[in-house]
């Protein structure tokens, strides 16, 4: 099949994808932009549906100017790119993307591919986390931002990371009685991470302001906590947790938003054949890139949180930089100063990211203590005990073997929710370093396809 247009495809129309496409268009290219959602913007700058009236200031707060600029940039691109919203890329094979739009199948060959696939919340399971009323932190934010709804009138927010405080503050501002902000990270870690966090003083100050506002409103904030259990029959009724002094608490609530930082969506990079390496700071396997976004596979570029979690500002820069790299690799002139400036600005954001990893580490230690009956994989209802059995009795030395024995990560989400935690549970059970537990390999289709799929006419 012949490559159509200029043969440059951008997957994902969030901050990284939009800026990548914009840079390509500036170079006279008409890229294809494939986006799974109906609208561009990504998750952080997620747009509300047509007919909603809140202004950007109400939706994106301090980031409203950036959100507005990004949305305007995307809007201006629509006539200048082959814009394909509502389209799922479900496989990559022989230089071709296999896509599905509303049940219609199509193959899109590419010469250059920029993957800007974004991220989702990183999860640590706990007993009861599948009960109705428990959502991801990002989900709690999306309910508010994109639907004008809250996940509870008296919610608790559990996890760690800047999003924990941001979402709690957004709920407070929406008039909700937040019943607790429970952080697994110790406050002292924030102090120790200050030299790295100082790389972005504005963001640091903003984080402190959210915390202060929550405290002023009387919201209970506890750090260095251990989550124990979500209680409830058919829906959330309470969260049990233990404080740093070892005292147990029970917070009655009607909703729980939980998340422990983010994890990149790397399935497509995996299917494209990109090499991965274990990142000790993030405790995650990440696709390998050079500083400019080139993956290990020629003509495949990675940008934004889908490659490395650095947030939306970094994603905009990384998207543009990856586009510059692709342009240069295809023999077009790109000003070195432009690329050097982008690299320098990204360096500060990488440093800040390292600070966040130190201040709000993923609570890997909780994996060892999860009760055996805890559901780790919510798709297939696989327990921590079954996973430990796979690692022990059945001798599975890494997650793909454990998946074969226990089905953990084999379900419809392909380990997006359970993957990082499952690797921690396995590593703890076998007493091996996390890096040795490996990573779940991606498989096509990366997301379930509609039941009846036809070739496009």
């Amino acid at each position: 099949m012949a490559v159509t247009g200029d043969g440059v495809i951008v997957v994902g129309a969030g901050p990284a994808g939009i800026r990548a496409a914009e840079r390509l268009v500036a170079a006279g290219i008409r890229p294809t932009v494939v986006e799974e959602s109906a609208r561009d913007g990504g998750q952080i700058y997620r747009r509300q549906p047509e007919g909603f009236r809140r202004p950007p200031e109400a939706l994106y707060g301090a980031d409203s100017a950036k959100a507005r600029a990004l949305h305007e940039a995307a809007q201006a691109l629509h006539p200048r790119v082959d814009w394909r919203p509502g389209t799922l890329v479900w496989a990559i094979r022989d230089g071709t993307l296999l896509v599905n739009r509303a049940g219609q199948h199509e193959a899109l060959p590419f010469r250059h591919l920029i993957l800007a696939t974004g991220a989702t919340d990183r999860i640590m399971p706990l007993p009861g986390w599948t009960l109705p009323g428990v959502t991801s932190l990002g989900g709690a934010q999306i309910a508010l931002k994109a639907q004008g709804c809250v996940i509870g009138r008296e919610p608790v927010f559990l996890g760690t990371g800047p999003l924990l405080y941001l979402v709690a503050w957004q709920y407070l501002k929406a008039g909700v009685a937040v019943r607790g902000v429970l952080d697994t990270s110790a406050f002292a870690k924030r102090v120790l991470a200050a030299p790295w966090l100082a790389a972005r003083p504005g963001l640091l100050a903003r984080g402190l302001a959210y915390t202060a506002a929550l405290r002023r409103a009387g919201v209970r904030i506890a750090t260095n906590i251990t989550p124990l259990e979500v209680e409830g029959e058919d829906r959330v009724a309470a969260l049990r947790w233990r404080d740093a002094a070892g005292v147990e608490h029970r917070a009655a609530c009607d909703g729980i938003g939980m998340g422990y930082g983010l994890r990149p969506e790397t399935q497509l990079a995996d299917l494209a054949g990109c090499a991965f390496a274990f990142d000790g700071g993030a405790r995650l396997w990440l696709p390998v890139t050079d500083g400019d976004g080139r993956s290990s596979v020629p003509c495949v570029y990675l940008a934004g949180d889908g490659a490395q979690i650095r947030g939306a500002d970094a994603a905009e820069l990384a998207g543009r930089l990856a586009a510059c790299a692709a342009l240069r690799d295809s023999g077009r002139a790109v000003d070195e100063l432009e690329m050097a400036t982008l690299r320098r600005r990204l360096a500060g954001m990488t440093r800040f990211r390292r600070g966040l990893e130190r201040a709000f580490p993923y609570p890997a230690h909780l994996a060892a203590d999860l009760p055996d009956e805890t559901l780790v994989c919510r798709c297939e209802a696989i327990t921590a005990g079954a996973l430990r059995q796979a690692g022990g009795e059945y001798g599975a030395a890494e997650v793909n073997r454990a998946k074969a024995f226990s089905r953990t990560g084999m379900g419809r989400c392909q380990g997006r929710m359970c993957g990082p935690a499952a690797a921690e549970v396995l590593a703890a059970a076998r007493g091996i370093p996390m890096a040795q537990a490996g990573r779940l390999r991606g498989a096509a289709p990366v997301k379930p396809l509609p039941l009846a799929t036809e070739a496009a006419p």
């Binding site: 007919g51 809140r54 989702t120 109705p132 009323g133 989900g139 709804c149 829906r235 039941l451």
Partner: protein, 97 residues
């Protein structure tokens, strides 16, 4: 029983009617199916493994835990499907033909 989700903004959109498990509910134009069903109730599906009801989790198309079905047997991901007037939705386990 009150729903899991509560509206705090954008509540002046035009109402739409759809059916959930044979019962009429009122939602608002622009709702996702997930919003429509969880403002009205507290469940989307049953786990196929007998561990109880589910009502989605990630709300961004990743976890696949918000699947519902149309009475005609089509599977829909509730968090990313707009609610449309007249939809006839089934919660619970997948209908077996």
């Amino acid at each position: 029983m009150t729903g899991l989700l509560h509206r705090v903004a954008e509540a002046d959109r035009p109402p739409i009617r759809l059916s959930v498990d044979g019962r009429e509910i009122t939602a608002l134009a622009g709702d996702t199916l997930l919003t429509a069903l969880l403002v009205a109730g507290a469940r989307l599906r049953d786990s196929e493994f007998g561990d109880g009801t589910r009502a989605g989790f990630c709300l961004m198309g990743a976890c696949q835990d918000c699947w519902v079905w149309t009475e005609a047997g089509a599977r829909l991901r509730a968090c990313s499907t707009p609610a449309e007037p007249g939809m006839r939705i089934l919660t619970g386990a997948a209908p077996w033909p």
